[in-house]
Amino acid sequence: MTSQAPRSQLTVSIFVNGTRRTAQVPARRTLADYLRDQLGLTGTHLGCEQGVCGACTVLVDGAPVLSCLMPIGQADERHVRTVESLAAAGEPLGSLQAAFAEQDALQCGFCTPGFLMAASALVGYPELSEDEVREALSGNLCRCTGYGGIVTAVAGYLRDSPVGERSPSWPRGPRSWSPWETWPPAGTGPGPAEPPALGRVPDRVARRPRPGAVLAVAAAVAAAAIAAGVAVAATRGRRGRERSHGTGHRLTDRWHA
């Protein structure tokens, strides 16, 4: 029995940063384009649009997902968290963002939202080693800082984050060896279980409010978008169908070209 006919327009209802948003959307649209074009949440960046660069990483039901590879129909009734959830406009940076600023973990800032969201899924695991952090962030490409500052910022932030803030997507199972290798992940699957707020450590932010960093990032984004697009295109041209990637595992200089 075929109860439904295929549709070119879908009505979707998605919890975006805690608010239910209902919209008519063309079926071809990706979650990334919906967030950017229909909701104006342009903090989610599009680099390669084919699942290679990680710039579009968001949390879906608490787990990192590439929003450029998620057709909008699959996001229906799910909880999506974007980088905008880390700090409201005009407010001080969230503590994870502040850690990036302190460690100079960004230059152009284009890849930063993807790194921030991938790292957000690790909140509550202060015991993660730098190697584990590298593996957790291995799907995100940075083309200008290298990865040292990013890994230091995330590992340091996780060490300082209160254990009570443990992200619901990564329950520590009895035999799990790292938070992205656990089962079952609470909070996955459809349903309205709202993940708790991501960790904030107000002390550090209060001492060092860095609204200037937000402006600098915003100003750099337009140019960076072009630069990153060119870099990715050039890389793919040289490397054919292989995916380039990395957070520094055996990363050589030619990957920074």
């Binding site: 070119s8 649209r29 990680g54 129909g73 799907g139 290798e181 995916r243 595992h249």
Partner: protein
């Protein structure tokens, strides 16, 4: 680029899904996790007019041991393969190999059935299915259900024996015996990158450690998984602890049908064969 204009349907059951496949014909393409199909759409290398979405079809997301076998539903995601204790109990090879698939964000979405139906030559899971002597359970509205041995399913790069109107619903793996040992090795430029060469090895040893069977499959060295088990049959009857795996690997790499591939690939094949087979023989859980 963006995916081309298309229509979307979300069947509520396997029966509804295969009915839609039969009705829509070649215009339709099944999407599960989307980690292979969505890039193809964005690159305009595929342009189906309808996507049939399995994302919520929970009846395909199961791990079911039954009568000496384990059934894994097509919608089991890579992350579950790496992490679910039920998967590890049913097949110790799956968690260690699935860890090599892409990155965490990709493993959160990508599915077993999607990877098998996509049949990327560099993918881990097709080779695992061949090495584990899996049967792939295909369902269609007209022909009902048929079980295909994995060795007959993968016909070439991105090509399978799956018919146009068929859904790959599940795989059936034999449960390991007390003497089953696994080995897995993959070489890639960086972790999470596509494999340049890889090998999955399943040794069956008797209680004295004598090899009864040595199922060994290479991947990423040719258009489809390369099963060298026939050439490895000479290992039967030998004590695993006394085998010179380096020379076995060299011989197997030379007999494998890799003639068209570069010398470097052949060297890699030798390396991954040696490592995977040594790992299996040493009894360390892969």
């Amino acid at each position: 680029m963006k995916p081309p204009p298309l229509r979307w349907v979300r069947p509520a059951s396997i029966a509804e899904c295969v009915a839609q496949l039969a009705e829509l014909g070649e215009d339709a393409k099944i999407i599960a996790g989307g980690q292979s199909l969505m890039p193809l759409l964005a690159l305009r290398m595929a342009a189906p007019s309808v996507l049939i979405d399995l994302d919520r079809l929970t009846e395909l997301d199961h791990v079911t041991p039954r009568e000496g076998h384990v059934y894994l539903g097509a919608l089991v995601r890579h992350r579950r393969l790496t992490a679910d204790p039920a998967v590890a109990a049913a097949c110790g090879l799956l968690p260690s190999a699935a860890r090599h698939i892409g990155h965490p964000a990709i493993r959160n979405r990508g599915t077993l059935g999607g990877s098998l139906a996509h049949a990327d030559p560099a993918a881990e899971l097709p080779a695992l299915m061949v090495a584990l002597r899996a049967e792939l359970i295909c369902v269609s509205a007209t022909a009902g259900r048929r079980n295909l041995p994995a060795s007959e399913f993968f016909t070439g790069p991105y090509s399978t024996a799956l018919a146009q109107d068929e859904l790959l619903a599940a795989v059936r793996l034999p449960l390991p015996g007390p003497g089953t040992r696994y080995g897995f090795c993959e070489v890639s430029a960086r972790p999470g990158d596509f494999a340049r060469a890889g090998c999955a090895c399943v040794l069956d040893l008797d209680p004295a450690g004598v090899i009864q069977d040595a199922s060994t499959v290479l991947f990423a060295v040719s258009g489809a998984p390369v099963d060298v088990s026939r050439a490895a049959a000479g290992l039967r009857g030998l004590p695993a602890a006394e085998v010179d795996w380096r020379s076995v690997a060299a011989q197997l790499a030379d007999t494998a049908e890799l003639a068209a591939t570069a010398a470097y690939t052949r060297r890699l094949a030798r390396t991954v064969l040696r490592r995977a087979m040594t790992q299996a023989a040493s009894g360390v859980t892969a």
